[in-house]
């Protein structure tokens, strides 16, 4: 008789909530008539994600390993699950925006219709909307939440795919510039599959080296014989490569600008915020829990990659003329900053590291800010849809003071100016890194911040100090969802900058891995 594994439904409630909502969404897609589908889907997706958020908040303080040891419900998992659920809900609100585009939605009405065909042109302005994106996005959110809670490499891999596959799809569903969007999806998919193959091979090697894929078992095995040998180190490297790809860390960033630019902007926001949280959650867990004792194996690797990512993101960001691409490079640079925090792996014997809390805080802060920034991007439009070229933003401050002000706030936060959440986050991760003696890294990070600040500033300069172009874009009046998102993100950006104490406490208190 095989023993049934222990399964704490309460501890899994956030996951069940989100996945349940996704399943219900699929059923709604199947049964609800087309005209009521959109509001119903939005409602279900929001209920699911917010339910996930609330239940994970209720789980705060939980520390257990459940589902036969496959899932860890501990501080970081719960904190990041809540983060992902919250950010996911915000992204879903952006998905639901219907009053901005004259075409009524950011998503193509029928993905199967070839781009540019007569039917496609007909559907372009039809009131029909794509509603499958909601279950897809909910599945992705569920996958991300699973990703950060995975206590075993296999679950991690499955979660990786559960989060990736819907993303591949929805990044190809833009209503306008469909070719661009489809191309982005193909690139994202091919490179994503490539990276997951690497992750998988790493998994296999680690399994071969340690005989287990449970993170705690790997920890023990790697602690035993001086790091576990070539196989283990190779496996670790491959695993990390796979994860870094998802986190869009240079030099595994090749997809990021293309996909960020091609995907529908709400999806870009979703990817930029949630995927990053999830990927870093997994990186943290993998490095701290499984390889915490063989720190020397990954430290130099992460050290170097952090530098490369910051430099690449900051320097290439300078040359961009498209705002979405620019934000993509910004996200690459931020990934480097986050790695700085990851390096601040401290002294704790049970996987507590001084870098864990700060990194989680940074993830939350960055996610909120970047969603806000992309939300602003959806507001600025011309005849072709969103006006994302830098030159089109000239003089935006004249057209809409408020929009420009909000964008400026987000850009300042991304640049890490004090009294915004970006500064608090940066400070926290840098402190962790310096605490661990990574002086040179922090200096590079600071220089990179300065360089990156230049391209954020350039946008502000354009918005405020340039004359508006004659046939420039218009600033749309956002509907309720986008307004809500902007309100939340602006508030969060300011609050996390001015009085971050409570949230920092939360992150710091949650920063204890189990297993």
């Amino acid at each position: 008789m095989i023993e049934a594994p222990d399964l704490s439904l309460a501890a899994l409630a956030p996951l069940l909530f989100v996945f349940g909502a996704a399943c219900v969404g699929v059923l709604v897609e199947a049964f609800a008539p087309r005209d009521v589908r959109h509001p119903v889907q939005v409602a279900i997706a929001l209920v699911g994600t917010l339910g996930g958020l609330v239940t994970s908040l209720l789980l705060a303080g939980e520390r257990q390993v459940t589902a036969g040891g496959a899932l860890a419900v501990d501080g970081p998992a719960v904190f990041l699950e809540a983060t992902i659920a919250g950010l996911g809900a915000l992204s879903l609100l952006l998905f639901a925006e219907r009053s901005l585009d004259p075409a009524r939605s950011a998503f193509v009405a029928a993905a199967a219709v070839p781009a540019g065909s007569p039917r496609d042109r007909e559907l372009m302005t039809a009131p029909r909307v794509q509603t499958e994106v909601y279950p897809l996005a909910t599945f992705a959110i569920g996958g991300m939440m699973l990703f950060v809670a995975a206590n075993d490499l296999l679950v991690m891999f499955v979660a990786l795919e559960v989060l990736s596959l819907p993303l591949y799809l929805i990044s190809g569903l833009a209503r306008r510039r469909r070719l661009l969007s489809q191309e982005a999806a193909v690139k994202y998919f091919l490179l994503g599959a490539f990276a997951s193959a690497f992750f998988l091979y790493g998994l296999a090697l680690v399994y071969g080296a340690t005989g287990s894929i449970r993170l705690s078992a790997i920890r023990e095995a790697s602690a035993g014989e001086a790091g576990g040998g070539v196989l283990l180190v190779l496996g670790l490297a491959l695993l990390v490569v796979g994860l870094l790809f998802k986190a869009s860390v240079a030099p595994f960033h090749a997809w990021t600008p293309d996909v960020y630019q091609g995907a529908p902007t709400p999806v870009t926001a979703f990817m930029a915020a949630c995927t990053k949280v999830a990927a870093f959650g997994a990186i943290l867990r993998l490095l701290y829990v499984a390889f915490g004792t063989s720190e020397w194996t990954w430290r130099p690797l992460v050290y170097g990659i952090a530098i490369v990512s910051m430099v690449v993101g900051a320097v290439l960001g300078l040359t961009q003329t498209d705002l979405k691409r620019m934000l993509a490079y910004s996200s690459i640079a931020h990934a480097g900053f986050l790695l700085t925090g990851v390096l601040g792996y401290g002294s704790g014997p049970d996987g507590t590291g001084s870098g864990l809390g700060p990194t989680m805080f940074y993830l939350l802060a960055y996610g909120l800010t970047t969603i806000g920034a992309f939300a602003v991007l959806t507001l600025v439009r011309d005849g072709d849809g969103e006006a994302t070229h830098l030159s089109q933003w000239a003089g935006l401050g004249r057209r809409s003071t408020l929009t420009a002000a909000v964008m400026a706030l987000f850009l300042l936060a991304l640049a890490g100016i004090p009294l915004t959440s970006g500064f608090t986050g940066k400070f926290a991760v840098f402190r962790a890194a310096i605490d661990d003696g990574a002086w040179p890294l922090v200096l590079v990070a600071l220089l990179a911040s300065a360089v990156a600040a230049f391209f954020y500033l350039r946008v502000i300069v354009l918005m405020y100090f340039s004359e508006p172009a004659v046939d420039g874009p218009t600033v749309g009046v956002p509907g309720l969802p986008t307004t809500l998102v902007l309100a939340v993100t602006v508030t969060a950006t300011v609050v996390l900058g001015v009085v971050p104490g409570a949230v920092l406490d939360l992150a710091e208190g949650a920063a204890r891995f189990v297993g």
């Binding site: 809390g357 401050g397 004249r398 003071t401 300042l412 640049a415 100016i417 004090p418 009294l419 500064f423 608090t424 940066k426 400070f427 926290a428 840098f430 402190r431 310096i434 605490d435 002086w439 922090v442 200096l443 600071l446 220089l447 911040s449 300065a450 600040a453 230049f454 500033l457 350039r458 502000i460 300069v461 405020y464 100090f465 340039s466 004359e467 009085v499 971050p500 104490g501 920092l504 406490d505 710091e508």
Partner: protein, 545 residues
């Protein structure tokens, strides 16, 4: 009364004022102006009251407020002032209302509302107060960086033709400096955590930390770079002429008068007490920079054709003096330097204001476009003269006292540097007097002439070195025209009068300020371990250069 949180109020009142101005409906420009003036006067009142409440002989930091802010970082929202900070607050209190009045008729470029200008100005005031009042290094850093934003928008939105360039340059310079300092701030925290067991940012606690000399040097450099950029020491100064020239007059006054003082204030408050060993060791290098700045900036100032740039360069020279005073490590010199900070704010502020008034009339920033103003506008010329003389530290003006103190104080320890610095005084006399003479006297020139109907339009955009000679040659061609220079209006008088009064008053009787400053300086000197003995501040004020 002393329980009243003056400092908090001084930060909160302008911040709330800024929010209120922003919230005003469109078109209420007049209300916005009046509100701003009211708020800034309230801050002045608070500053004065705080000074009264300040006990000169009391503890080092008074009027303290401390609230736990970010416990995870060990950061407190800790405010408190010593004498040095207090005089800076007074300076802010005085300058802001003056600037408000001076900017009363400022016209927005494009369709922009001026409400933003007032809001940014008030926000800037709030943050400046915060910078000087913070006794927590983290809080200081936050204010230090946050201060950039309003200034950036003031320059970028309301500045001159090259405002974009200037704004970005200003921001990036400051940001780079700030980020380097951030590294040092974090490092300081980590060091304190290692030394004290628990990390802290509290200034008083940090002073007690014994830091390894090598680390000290690194941290010192981190802070120093940021401050050196802020208070432009020579290799880091290139942003100031651009920003000073492109900023609106009000912004320029605050920029040079207060904002840049943060740098020198930082030297005194943070570099010296926290890293005494490093300070002593590196002082010669700093002094080289300071003296080089004095001479180099003075030379450059002479070559400027743009009045605002010229004034900016004079400031750089003055900052050299201040730095010299600080790093001479004598109480006199440092007291002089602090006093210089105040006086320079007033004197250069006045100079900027006058230049602004002149530019408002002529529409050009070039020296060569003006001439013979004194005949038409004697009041303006008079104020200009006072400002100029204060700037070159003529005895009887406020700057003299401080400059003299600096030189007297530094001579015993650093004779060579002091002698070299005195050369700067001569150069200062040259550029100020030349400026005055070219614009106020001589035949009328340039844009101040009404063009004759048949005469060709005067060339306003003359290149860098539009000299008096070429301008005089042009003059006969425009002979039939008449000058259209108005003298000072009542509003402008209201701006100039208090400043002139301060120039004179502080030149004659600086003692109250010195009394305020000296104990704090002495405490700093004991922190840094310098020889506190020196010439007493009551040294006879005699002899000129």
């Amino acid at each position: 009364m002393s329980d009243f949180p003056f400092l908090l109020a001084m930060i909160a009142v302008p911040a709330v004022g800024a929010a209120a101005v922003t919230a005003l409906p469109k078109g209420r420009e007049q209300t916005a102006r009046q509100l701003s003036l009211g708020v800034s006067l309230v801050v002045l009142l608070l500053a004065v009251l705080a000074t009264i409440a300040f006990d000169v002989g009391g503890e080092r930091f008074q009027l303290t407020t401390s609230v736990s802010w970010i416990p995870d970082f060990g950061v407190d929202f800790a405010l408190g002032v010593d004498g040095i900070a207090l005089v800076m607050l007074l300076l802010i209190g005085v300058l802001v209302p003056v600037v408000v009045v001076a900017s009363w008729r400022e016209e927005p470029t494009g369709r922009r509302s001026m409400r933003a200008f007032w809001a940014w100005l008030l926000l800037l005031e709030s943050l400046m107060v915060g910078v000087f009042a913070a006794t927590d290094v983290f809080l200081f850093y936050v204010f230090f960086e946050a201060m950039l934003v309003p200034m950036y928008f003031l320059i970028g939105s309301f500045g001159g033709p090259r405002r974009q360039y200037a704004a970005v340059k200003f921001f990036l310079y400051s940001l780079v400096g700030g980020l380097v300092m951030l590294a040092a701030v974090i490092g300081l925290y980590v060091v304190s955590a290692n030394e004290l067991g628990e990390g802290t940012f509290a200034f008083d606690a940090l002073r007690q930390v014994e830091i390894d000399p090598g680390v000290q040097k690194l941290l010192f450099l981190g802070f120093f770079v940021a401050f050196a950029i802020k208070a432009p020491l020579v290799p880091f100064h290139t942003w100031l002429p651009d920003s000073g020239a492109e900023a609106p007059i009000g912004g320029a006054v605050l920029l040079v008068g207060v904002l840049d003082k943060v740098g020198t204030f930082g030297f005194i408050r943070y570099c010296l007490p926290l890293f005494p060993d490093a300070s002593r060791e590196l002082a010669p290098y700093v002094l080289v920079l300071a003296v080089a700045g004095i001479l180099y900036a003075a030379l450059l100032a002479m070559g400027q054709s743009d009045m605002k740039r010229l004034v900016s360069y004079t400031s750089i020279a003055h900052f050299g003096f201040i730095a010299l005073g600080i790093f001479a490590f004598t109480t006199e010199a440092t007291t002089g330097a602090v006093l210089y900070m105040v006086n320079h704010g007033i004197a250069t502020g006045l100079l900027f204001l006058v230049v602004g008034m002149l530019i408002a009339r002529g529409g050009s920033r070039l020296v060569g476009d003006y001439g013979g103003v004194a005949a038409q506008a004697p009041l303006l010329a008079g104020v200009f003269l006072v400002a100029g003389l204060a700037s070159l530290a003529l005895p009887g003006t406020n700057s003299f006292v401080s400059e003299f103190l600096v030189l007297i104080g530094s001579f015993p320890t650093r004779p060579v540097f002091t002698v070299l610095a005195t050369v700067g005084i001569v150069l200062a006399a040259l550029y100020v007097l030349l400026l005055y003479q070219r614009t106020m006297h001589g035949p009328p020139r340039g844009v101040l002439l009404e063009p004759a109907p048949e005469a060709p339009a005067p060339t306003t955009g003359g290149g860098g070195g539009a000299t008096a000679a070429t301008a005089t040659l042009e003059a006969p061609a425009a002979a039939p025209a008449r000058l259209r220079v108005r003298d000072l209006s009542r509003r402008e008088l209201a701006v100039a009068a208090p400043m002139v009064a301060l120039v004179i008053a502080l030149g004659v009787y600086p003692q109250p300020l010195i009394d305020l400053i000296e104990p704090a300086v002495a405490a700093t000197m004991s922190d840094v371990g310098a020889d506190p003995a020196g010439v007493s501040p009551e040294a006879p004020v005699e002899g000129t250069d």
